[in-house]
């Protein structure tokens, strides 16, 4: 590679979602010259199409510290991202759901989230729109949501202000690794950088494959639906003991319904499809929880890809086997947690000690490798 050091970046990030963008910003703050390349536009993946839920109640216990920090970023972003602190309820409708709710919320509260168990009567007194079939509930005053469609423009503005170069509609076609760093081929020409961060969401496995690294990433196809505006009935964000429902009524009166019901499709085609049957189940669950949804009209349903690995913890750290390459992906609850974990990975890249432990990607290779010769013991990180 014959690029001069003058036009070689200190860090090239592939993916301008929350992960890549917040990492890029932190790296730039730390003095690096950073470029982000994005195949579509900033925030066009999961970051921009999810239901926008910022709920501590649905975060994993092992990720609660990260969620609390990430949440603060959203709160500070405020109106620019449509942040709303509405409080949130998680509902149980059967005895076993209630048991599950109590067990989980107790652990999450112990992990630092301000969650309290409340009686159905209390919940319904504060939220009359809730179903009278609720048998148990929990409440977190901090829960709320933001407008995920604003993620992209907000991130773009931050990147610009920090003088981070952003190349949108720019696909990374191939990556050459050499002594000086990396050369990424794009339709606009090659880009050179000393360090590389793969933060490509559902496309992370295919990008890592360009460097010969096989990451066992699973991709889920989550369905979200939005209704027409209706009279104001619901104030808090609503969840379900199993995590299979998110429901909120936005400022303009329309309802946003999610919960991870699966559509079809793959990042390879870039296209997800709504599955008619699972959509109906998602809508039924929402309708059951909040009967006020009766007779609103569904306007639009869509899908978004969400990457994860088998233990459902993030990949956040060095890319196995490739010096100066890093990966940040597969964060369940990534919308809330991203703004915390992006900067942590940037700190690692800057050579600083991250304030919270990261999640070593080599562990997933250890679990799946056959000859057992790799380092890594498959231990659950973050504990």
């Amino acid at each position: 590679m014959s690029a001069t050091s003058a036009n070689r970046y200190d860090l090239l990030v592939i993916g301008a979602g929350i992960m890549g963008a917040t990492a890029a910003l932190r790296a730039a703050q730390g003095g690096m010259r950073v470029i982000v390349v994005e195949r579509d536009v900033a925030g066009s993946g999961a970051s921009g199409v999810n239901a926008g839920t910022l709920s501590l109640q649905i975060k994993r216990v092992g990720l609660m510290r990260y969620a609390l920090r990430g949440y603060e970023w959203w709160r500070e972003a405020g109106e620019a991202v449509g942040f709303k602190r509405t409080g949130g309820y998680t509902l149980a409708f059967t005895a076993s759901e209630q048991a599950l709710l109590e067990e989980r919320m107790t652990k999450k509260r112990d992990a630092g989230a301000p969650i309290e168990l409340v009686s159905p009567a209390e919940a319904r007194a504060r939220e009359p729109a809730l179903s009278d079939r609720v048998v148990g509930a929990s409440y977190c005053a901090a829960d709320g949501y933001a407008d995920s469609t604003r993620t992209g423009p907000y991130l773009r503005g931050l990147l610009r202000a920090a003088n981070v170069h952003l190349h949108e509609h720019t696909l990374a076609r191939s990556i050459d690794a050499g002594g000086d760093g990396f050369r990424v081929a794009t339709p606009g020409g090659p880009i050179d950088a000393r360090r590389l961060l793969i933060a490509s969401g559902a496309w992370t496995a295919s990008v890592a494959a360009m460097l010969g690294v096989t990451l066992p990433i699973n991709v889920r196809v989550n369905t979200v639906s939005v209704t027409e505006p209706g009279p104001r009935r619901l104030h808090a964000a609503i969840g379900h003991a199993t995590g299979l429902l998110t429901l909120k009524q936005k400022a303009n009166g329309s309802y946003l319904i999610g919960g991870g019901w699966q559509g079809r499709g793959s990042p390879a085609t870039g296209r997800g499809e709504v599955d008619g049957e699972t959509l109906l189940q998602n809508l039924r669950l929402a309708r059951f929880a909040v009967p006020a949804l009766a007779h609103t009209r569904v306007l639009r349903s869509w899908t978004g890809f969400e990457a994860s690995v088998a233990d459902h913890y993030p990949l956040a750290g060095v890319l196995p086997g490739v010096p100066n390459a890093y990966v940040l992906a597969c964060v369940r609850g990534g919308y809330t947690i991203g703004p915390c974990i992006g900067p942590l990975v940037a700190d690692l890249i800057l050579g600083r000690e991250p304030e919270l432990p990261l999640f070593d990607p080599t562990r997933v290779l250890a679990v799946t490798t056959r000859d057992g010769s790799r380092a890594g013991d498959g231990r659950v990180p973050g504990k």
Binding site: D275, R297, W302
Partner: protein, 484 residues
């Protein structure tokens, strides 16, 4: 209905046909004649599509040619050996395990039709070019005017401005006069001589040309002012007391600054700028589309046998390219034959609907000429004032869209994400064409590169309760809880 020799499980058929207009009706009847099990779905209570639209209970005493044609279509559909699902709104189509699932909502609740093949014959929709006041009560579409007058037997007004471009102008004006109303003026973006530019293609259907000339004579004899080379710039006033201002435009659609506008007092405005293929179903299915002004804009790509690029998907009629009602039935029959062949159900010696190419070419040439006459130059879009509302559902002005385009929105999907243009209840049907033209004008990009908005279900808004139906909480198939 006699049992089909190839009866499958209830709710399943060989071919589902979406749309009971000329193309869909012909496709369904032909498919049935070829021995296929057919399901025909349409939102309306009876067949006819838009061109032969009618409602049960309201009828002319003496049917004109169109009404007679429509009645014929309705009766052949009623007599055919097919499953009819009228008043059914299709909200999703998906291909799973080599079959189509057509999700619909009817008066009795949800229904899913399983079909090996799907023929999309959902026709065309009207193109609109915004002007100040186009969102006011009292302004309706040209196609809406034909529905009101022909199907409901109600006039848009007693003194109506008919504005826009294309063959529907005369159709509506004539219908208003026949109904006892007055036409305050026809405001036609085409210059008077434009019709002659297409004379060669138009004479392929001398009967329709004669009809058009007859309509023009009627306008003259009723003293209807015909403002050629004009577009509406403003409509204001109160519900039935409206003031419309029509400005002269040049070839490119730009208003002439120096030439005076004309003020028209009226009690209703009917406006429309030609027809575009309705591509929402084929987009949702993921089929390949192309942009061709001669076919009305974006249309699904079909081969000579009306096959789309996805297995089991076919399109016929205006949805595959606006070629008009005359060309539609043959396309429907061709699609049905292709389905039968592709399902291995056609006798190798069977004639099928591959013949009659000449009639089809003639009909299509006329239809295409009509489509080309129904366009207006970019200047008409470029000169839309900044305050004019382009996306009515989200109340977005041109200024907002231009700002987003200047900020980097290069595709219609970019613009949609950035501004919410097209995210309202109409799904972009009123604004997407204008928004795309604004991007083209401002960035120089081609319509092909600007693209179409990604198709998403439901195809039209659907009541959540109607979708959900009655259900048991305990019967909901909950997947495994998310990890703790």
């Amino acid at each position: 209905m006699s049992a089909s020799p190839h009866a499958g499980p209830a709710g399943s058929c060989d071919v589902a046909v979406l749309g009971a207009g000329p193309a869909g009706a012909a496709a369904a009847i032909e498919a049935s004649a070829l021995g296929l099990r057919v399901a025909l779905l349409d939102e309306q209570p009876i067949a006819g599509g838009q061109v032969y639209r009618a409602v049960p209970g309201i009828a002319p005493v003496r049917a004109d040619r169109d009404r007679a044609e429509g009645d014929r279509l309705r009766s052949t559909v009623a007599d055919a050996n097919i499953e009819r699902h009228f008043c059914h709104r299709v909200w999703h189509v998906e291909r799973v395990d080599d079959e189509w699932r057509v999700h619909a909502l009817g008066p009795e609740g949800p229904r899913t039709v399983h079909a090996a093949a799907l023929i999309v014959a959902t026709g065309a929709q009207e193109r609109h070019v915004p002007f100040a006041g186009w969102e006011r009560p009292g302004v309706i579409g040209l196609a809406a005017a034909t529905v009101l007058i022909k199907a409901q037997r109600i006039l848009p007004g007693r003194n109506v401005v008919v504005a826009g471009v294309g063959p529907l102008l005369l159709v509506v004006a004539k219908a208003i006069i026949e109904g006892g109303g007055r036409v305050a003026a026809i405001v036609d973006a085409n210059a008077r001589g434009d019709w002659f530019a297409h004379a060669r293609d138009l004479v392929s259907r001398p009967d329709l040309v004669a009809r058009g000339i007859g309509w023009i004579r009627t306008m003259r004899s009723h003293g209807v002012p015909m403002l050629h080379g004009h577009i509406l710039r403003t409509v204001d006033g109160d519900t039935r007391s409206l003031r419309a201002v029509a400005a002269p435009i040049g070839r490119d659609g730009h208003p002439h600054a120096e030439v005076a506008s004309t003020e028209l007092l009226c009690d209703a405005v009917c406006c429309g700028f030609g027809l575009m293929p309705a591509t929402d179903v084929t987009r949702l299915a993921g089929a390949a589309h192309a942009f061709d002004p001669a076919r009305g804009g974006w249309h699904v790509i079909v081969d000579a046998d009306q096959r789309c690029d996805l297995p089991g998907l076919y399109a016929a009629g205006d949805g595959a390219g606006v070629t008009g009602a005359a060309a539609a039935p043959l396309q429907g029959r061709i699609a049905a034959s292709a389905v039968a062949r592709d399902l291995g159900r056609m006798d190798a010696n069977a004639r099928g609907a591959r013949g009659k190419k000449r009639g089809s070419v003639r009909a299509a040439r006329f239809g295409t000429a009509m489509t080309q006459l129904a366009s207006v130059g970019d200047g008409a879009i470029a000169s839309i004032p900044a305050d004019v509302i382009v996306c009515q559902c989200e109340r977005l002005s041109r200024r907002v869209l231009d700002g987003a385009i200047d900020d980097g929105c290069a595709t219609i999907n970019d613009l949609k994400s950035a501004t919410r243009c097209g995210m309202g209840p109409c799904g972009g049907r009123l604004c997407e064409d204008t928004a795309a033209r604004l991007i083209a004008i401002r960035t120089g990009r081609t319509r092909t590169d600007i693209g179409q908005a990604t198709g998403r279900p439901p195809l039209r808004p659907v009541d959540l309760d109607a979708l959900a139906g009655t259900f048991d909480y305990d019967a909901l198939p909950m997947p495994v809880p998310s990890p703790l």
